[in-house]
């Protein structure tokens, strides 16, 4: 199995407070790893550390250079302050206009949308657009942080199905942050339970027990396992 990422004894502190401690895990090629945890568990911080956006202690070793990242969509400015079109957005990655149109079609958007300014896209269109953007340049690994935040339930399902399609079609390795449990059962090959420290790691069927979930989310969680 080809290794893509190795994390060993990771520790991250923000403003003097230890947000992640003693975290170790590995990701192999074609894994679909879901990082699961409640709000404030350190999921976004983990991604930022993995990408070298914030300082950390411990070891983060990538075995690929082609990494693409998608932050929560509220962290991507959709300002009306200046006219940024979809084409302009793809130009940040030096993607040609023909390649832009092609990838937009692949995520189910009309090619004509490329001339629209980003602030005029609906939330669903915008999310598809940035997924297309993340896929531009044929990355080996995708890191998605809450890719469905701000999207209704029907739209969420569509986005995850879309990601699943690309994961299968392109042989990608996906790391996905979410607090939605159903995503794990439907789309994950591996799960990492995080609440400041790693509480479980491995195949969801084996490691995601009711006891672990209670430990992760607190006492109030109900355990319903849906399988397709």
């Amino acid at each position: 199995m080809q290794r893509v990422l190795e994390v060993k004894d990771l520790q991250v502190s923000l403003s003097g407070e230890k947000v992640i401690r003693d975290l170790s895990f590995e990701v192999n090629k074609r894994d679909s790893l879901v990082v699961l945890g409640p709000n404030g568990a350190g999921k976004t911080t983990l991604f930022k550390a993995l990408l070298g956006l914030i300082p950390y202690e411990g070891e983060v070793k990538w075995h690929t250079q082609k990494i693409s990242y998608l932050p929560p969509q509220e962290l991507v400015a959709r300002t009306s302050l200046f006219p940024l079109t979809v084409f302009d957005f793809f130009d940040f990655k030096k993607t040609s206009s023909s390649a832009t149109k092609k990838i937009l079609k692949e995520v189910g958007l009309e090619a004509s949308i490329a001339k629209k300014t980003v602030n005029k896209l609906s939330t669903g269109q915008f999310q598809r657009m940035i997924i297309a953007w993340a896929l531009a340049g044929d990355p080996d690994v995708l890191l998605f942080d809450e890719p469905t935040s701000g999207i209704d339930v029907g739209g969420q399902e569509t986005i995850y199905t879309l990601l699943h399609k690309f994961w299968e079609k392109r042989g990608l390795t996906i790391l996905l942050v979410t607090h939605e449990l159903n995503v794990v059962w439907e789309h994950a090959s591996q799960v990492l339970c995080l609440n400041k420290k790693g509480l479980c790691y491995g195949n969801p069927d084996e490691v995601l027990t009711p006891k672990k979930l209670k430990e992760l989310y607190g006492g109030g969680i109900k355990f319903y396992k849906h399988r397709q």
Binding site: L81, F82, P83, L84, F92
Partner: protein, 259 residues
């Protein structure tokens, strides 16, 4: 035959108008347009010293705007106060001290600009520096817009935000120092903000928007300069008034088109 002084004046205002308008569109994307105001005021002690000692105002202006930025940066590290607050402390001090040493005429010149004392060296120097700054801004433009859209995404794509922001700040300081000759320390912000806003009203993509800033900066500077030359009104106010008229026309056009 075209008057040589008129020609030199035109070269200066077109160069400064183009680079100011271009930079202004970038400042607008970074919500930093208002920063140009206080930075313009920081040039005033430099202009005062240049006028007192008889050297070119550009050198005094650039030295003091750089010094002002450095002082604000040091104060920020020492006090952790917001940059806006520190700017509000430093720039009135700069204005107050400069007015202690200037005569009434020199004060007017420092505040609203004076282009009557130009020569070939100033003209060529201004044009060359404007072109250099223009090309630098062009090189970093899309990178800085990208950082404005998402600093994290930009870093993951390999951009060095600190280095690019430093380049942006140095370019801003140079453009402000160039602008004070034409519009004075009081109105530098207008030379950047108004053409950018006019362009924003009319553009539907980033390329048109950035070049629109250049176009409206040049147009306002050129028409303002001709107004100053033939009707003997101060150069700074002339350019700003033309710039505002262009903005209002663009706004009217936008309203009519969207109706």
């Amino acid at each position: 035959m075209i008057n040589q002084e008129l020609l030199m004046g035109l070269v200066i205002v077109i160069s400064i108008g183009a680079v100011s308008g271009f930079l202004g569109t970038l400042m607008l994307t970074k919500k930093m347009t208002l920063v140009g105001g206080p930075l313009g005021h920081l040039t005033l002690p430099g202009i005062a010293i240049a006028l007192l000692l008889g050297f070119d105002v550009f050198f005094g202006a650039v030295a003091f705007v750089m010094l002002g930025i450095l002082v604000i940066w040091i104060f920020e590290k020492l006090t952790r106060l917001p940059v806006e607050t520190l700017t509000a402390i430093v720039f009135p001090f700069a204005m107050a001290t400069s007015f202690l040493f200037l005569t009434e005429d020199e004060t007017t010149q420092a505040l609203i600009g004076d282009i009557s004392q130009i020569n070939l060296a100033i003209t060529l120097g201004t044009a060359a520096l404007s072109i250099l700054v223009f090309l630098t801004i062009r090189y970093v433009y899309r990178k800085l817009v990208f950082i404005g859209v998402s600093a994290d995404l930009a870093k993951v794509e390999g951009l060095n935000a600190d280095r690019l922001n430093l380049i942006f700040l140095v370019c801003t300081a140079l453009v402000i120092a160039l602008s004070v000759r034409v519009v004075g320390g009081l109105m530098t912000v207008a030379l950047m903000a108004i053409p950018a806003s006019t362009s924003r009203n009319l553009s539907n993509n980033l390329t048109f928007y950035s070049w629109g800033g250049v176009l409206f900066g040049v147009l306002a500077s050129m028409l303002g300069y001709l107004w100053y030359s033939f009707f003997a009104i101060p150069i700074g106010p002339a350019i700003i008034i033309v710039s505002v008229v262009l903005f209002l026309v663009s706004l009217l056009y936008k309203i009519l088109v969207n109706k």
